[in-house]
């Protein structure tokens, strides 16, 4: 099993990596690129803590072989915004008390971003439905749903 070169864009930056075919995107992002925002929660697609955007779509990095990402554009929570330039969703999560332990937060934010790309003004039902694969054990989801509902779109 030989390592191979992989070229992709992560958070807008071109990256070249040398990875083994069995390397999971989640571990490559965390261990090779130091992007710790995507979290391991189950490794089986059941919790969505590992959510990243692949070409704008929310996907689960724990079930993706990194080698399949050749040429892809990956966005992690680190690429959403920065402490001095928060993404409106990040700000809304803070304003609405949607963060407790915070472990589900990156996955929630990215999934919500993917939803808003498709549907800028979703109803509460649409938000709940779109986020239903993202588990949160702390909040009971209400504040998260509220945060997505109340996000202030950049003018």
């Amino acid at each position: 099993m030989e390592s191979q070169w992989l070229k992709l864009r992560v958070n807008g930056k071109e990256r070249q990596l040398f990875v083994r075919p069995n390397a999971l995107l989640l571990n490559v992002l965390r261990d090779e690129l130091g992007l710790m925002g995507a979290k391991y929660g189950c490794g089986l697609g059941e919790c969505a803590a590992c959510t990243v955007l692949v070409n704008g779509r929310n996907m689960l990095a724990c079930l993706i072989l990194a080698v399949t990402m050749e040429g892809a554009e990956i966005t992690t929570v680190e690429g959403m915004g920065d402490y001095d330039r928060l993404h409106p969703l990040q700000q809304s999560f803070l304003d609405n008390g949607a963060v407790q332990c915070g472990f589900c937060t990156p996955g929630m934010l990215l999934t919500a971003q993917a939803l808003l790309e498709k549907n800028p003004d979703p109803s509460e039902e649409e938000i709940r439905d779109y986020l239903r694969g993202n588990l949160c054990r702390c909040t009971g989801y209400a504040a998260i749903v509220q945060a997505v509902k109340e996000v202030k779109h950049p003018a």
Binding site: G45, L65, V67, T68
Partner: protein, 296 residues
């Protein structure tokens, strides 16, 4: 533990295909030692849990011409590498193939639907596979390609048992095609799970044809009540060619419940599945009838 889902501790050769021909050549060469990787939402889970140990993994999402949805008079044709989300998002599916639309929407997380495919769902051959009942009631046909040939298999003949299909190791499922639905058609899908994200405790699809107040034809399929997703002809017969009524729906639902032999597992019990099969079939029939323009 015997597993470590944090990593994929497997040894395999990764083969990235760019054409169907390439895939078929590799499949011909490696046979059972190879596995197709589409969305990976079943394959990677099975590799992580040690249920599958392919030596070659052939990635098909980069194959030109496997990712499409074509809807026209000839019906609906879906390429094997098309994501579930794209199928769900296609206007023709939403309006003309309600059972398939509802089945996909009931599946997993949006992220999984962005990754997974119908083809993967079918080849994985779970008795609970959500896209199977709708495809069964639509009489969908699967296009299976070999290096030197192609065959078309009705979905009903595709499943053999849990994880087993008639797909040969050298074959690639390239297309799912669904015949066009006549104007008087109505279809629906229903599922019960433990929570909103779950593999079905039980699922059901119905497709029926209305002419005035009569049900001229009807197809019913259940999932998660047998070793494979199954058509329930006993219940179909109750409705076919009959004047539709609440009593008839109830009779068909009873017949459906009487025809299945579910088991108990982690998700539910045999008794429960038997009881609710009648309820969800009755509801699915009513919904389909309404969609076909009928009133009860």
């Amino acid at each position: 533990m015997a597993t470590d889902t944090r990593v994929l501790a497997a040894e395999f050769q990764y083969l990235e295909a760019h054409s169907t021909g390439e895939v078929l050549t590799w499949l011909a060469e490696y046979g059972t030692r190879a596995k197709i990787l589409a969305g990976g939402t079943d394959l990677l889970v099975r590799m992580k849990t040690g249920q599958m140990k392919p030596e070659y993994v052939i990635y098909i999402k980069k194959v030109a011409g496997l990712d499409y949805i074509q809807a026209d008079e000839a019906g609906l044709r879906i390429g094997a590498a098309t994501s579930l989300m794209d199928v769900e998002g296609h206007a023709a599916v939403k309006t003309g193939y309600s059972a398939l639309y509802e089945a996909i929407r009931s599946m997993a997380a949006t992220a999984i639907r962005n990754m997974g495919t119908i083809a993967g769902n079918l080849v994985n051959a779970s008795p609970a596979a959500d896209t199977a009942p709708p495809l069964l009631v639509y009489d969908a046909v699967l296009q299976l390609e070999l290096q030197d040939g192609v065959r078309w298999v009705p979905v009903d003949e595709f499943f053999l048992g849990p994880g087993k299909t008639c797909l040969a190791p050298e074959e690639l499922l390239t297309e799912i095609s669904i015949p066009p639905q006549d104007p008087g058609n109505g279809s629906s899908f229903l599922k019960l799970g433990r929570v909103a994200i779950d593999i079905a405790k039980i699922n059901v699809a119905v497709s029926l044809q209305r002419s005035g107040r009569d049900c001229t034809s009807c197809r019913i399929a259940f999932g998660s009540v047998a070793p494979r997703p199954i058509r329930i002809q006993e219940a179909e017969a109750v409705l076919t060619g009959k004047r539709m009524s609440n009593e008839l729906v109830e009779a068909a639902a009873q017949a459906g419940a009487a025809a299945i032999k579910p088991i108990s597992d982690n998700r539910s019990t045999r008794e429960y599945r038997l009881k609710v099969s009648r309820v969800i079939l009755g509801e699915a029939l009513r919904a389909a009838w309404q969609r076909a323009g009928g009133v009860l």
